[in-house]
Symmetry: C2
């Protein structure tokens, strides 16, 4: 990887993709950027900002090469940054006809590719033969909206190859983005997935009128649950209190804007899962994550009372009030 000469692509058009593009353009002269719709590109060029997300962020559009053909952008790029909902990944990559096994990938996706319950890195490795060492993960507490406002944020770049992690870090760090590096791609990915499940649980509790004292106990128990899980699935030395893990959990659970928390709040207030999904007009990542983690954990049998309770409420019609009361007996 040579971050001075390698061409960088961003796949995704949401707020996180937009924030990542902003960060990249602080360090590289130009980027390639993939949008599914040609119209969005036309609008973007005219407005000089993403017409649908983080509209306050102005871009010099002559520094952006826009693509709506996935094969073209991949051919033209060396480092591919993924920032789409995990649910869309297989669909977008199913069109890929070019060889991408020699590309570097940096995943900003916080979710699991559901069908086979694979992490993004595992998915890229299995289906596109990308070597694991060429894959990186962006972790840490980071609302895209705050990147737009250039509020100081700490991100962790994880890769099995620490030198590549450092290179990924150099791509996105700047005056308001401080970076750390880590070799823990499983731990950071799984934490970023499970924290969305916990945020749904916190939302459900909030919807049921549990208070801040309870939330603090819930999050304390949750980080222990996450620690048990990642230490079982990928037992390496890590400090779960680092901001890549605990920080990511807190910023999500305590955010008023988290879609996962909002989704949970609706469930807690009595919406059916189906109606909450319809009403939100989108599906919170934690909804899928809940089933994936439940299924993955069938093998590992880690004690995960919070994630399990959320799973039962979302997928097995467990009544939220009863289920949270049961859960509350287990917490401490």
């Amino acid at each position: 990887m040579n971050i001075k000469t390698d061409k960088v692509a961003v796949i995704g058009s949401g707020s996180w993709a937009t924030a990542i593009s902003k960060m990249l353009l602080e360090n590289v002269a130009e980027i390639n950027w993939f949008f599914r719709k040609k119209e969005t590109i036309e609008q973007f060029k005219e407005l000089h900002y993403n017409p649908r997300y983080l509209q306050s962020v102005e871009f010099e559009t002559d520094r952006i090469h826009f693509f709506y053909d996935i094969n073209e952008i991949l051919l033209e790029s060396d480092i591919i940054v993924l920032a789409i909902p995990s649910a869309f990944l297989p669909r977008i990559l199913s069109d890929v006809e070019v060889d991408i096994c020699n590309k570097y990938f940096l995943s900003g996706i916080k979710g699991i590719v559901t069908k086979e319950n694979l992490l993004v890195a595992e998915y890229l490795h299995k289906y596109f033969e990308v070597p694991m060492e060429n894959i990186g993960v962006i972790a840490g507490p980071c609302h895209a909206e705050e990147v737009a406002l250039e509020k100081l944020s700490y991100l962790t770049l994880a890769s099995l190859d620490m030198e590549k992690a450092a290179n990924f870090a150099r791509l996105i760090q700047n005056d308001y983005i401080y970076t750390s590096v880590s070799d823990d791609i499983w731990g950071t990915e799984y934490t970023s997935v499970i924290k969305n499940i916990i945020a749904i649980g916190a939302g459900i509790a909030h919807g049921l009128r549990y208070g801040d004292n309870f939330q603090a106990a819930l999050v304390s128990n949750a980080i222990q649950e996450i620690n048990r899980f990642v230490n079982t699935v990928h037992p390496i030395s890590r400090d779960i209190k680092d901001s890549a893990y605990l920080g990511d959990l807190m910023v999500t659970v305590y955010s008023q804007f988290s879609r996962n928390r909002t989704f949970g709040t609706m469930i807690g207030k009595g919406y059916s899962v189906k109606n909450a999904i319809l009403d939100m007009n989108m599906i919170a990542e934690g909804y899928f994550a809940s089933r994936s983690i439940f299924e993955i954990n069938q093998k590992h049998k880690v004690n995960m009372p919070i994630s399990s309770a959320v799973y039962r409420m979302l997928y097995e019609n467990a009544p939220p009030k009863k289920e949270m009361a049961k859960l509350s007996q287990i917490l401490s």
Copy 2:
């Protein structure tokens, strides 16, 4: 200790004392309750609630024996629950003429007795010869306001004598207060002290317009700082992620109502320390705690970048903007 026959006293008239009295009265037939002012007692008896705090909580006043003489209430009681600001403790106890070395003490005070930088347990032991094993500490995330509303909360009762910890727990647990026990009176006391310093730091950051991403990193770094400190000062086996520690930190830092956080926000917005104190018409516990922990740490030399930065801003005129920028370089 015999919680069925022992007489219980509450020392303090603030919101935490009121919440504790409410909890106690769920388990014991009557309590003794100390107020400094006779008028407050008169008003309380008339209104059937504490005239100044948690007014929504109605009390059966015939189950309360009111006292304004500290010696009388101590003579009449076996278990003494302390819930006053730590700054007032020496003053109130300086009037004590009766022997209290055979009493049991439960401290709900979250602060240090400043002059000699003693924890409450250490202070009671040193000046009143109360055996350490007869002292307990109430820890955990717990806004008094939520106890008033009977919102489920988790409290940890710590005592060197675990049987006594269990007895203290029995005194306050009920349908909405779930309890755990612990033998870690130093760790829980110090955490409850340091978290107020961190809350001031979080407030300063907020006042300086740092965002939620930063706060999440700050709290992640803070719990590690607390862990280093308590493991140095009192090295026993503990999990700092338990709600008695991490939960207590989070509920304070993320509370809009925390006086420490509000105090910090004023400093961050440019108030001088003096004016912030004048304007708030009270002194946040973390203000004193900051100096005490700084002084205690002169001996231990634990790396405490956040607490040290707060100390410098409060006591050494370090300009908040510069100091936070310096601190932010150290966090990760």
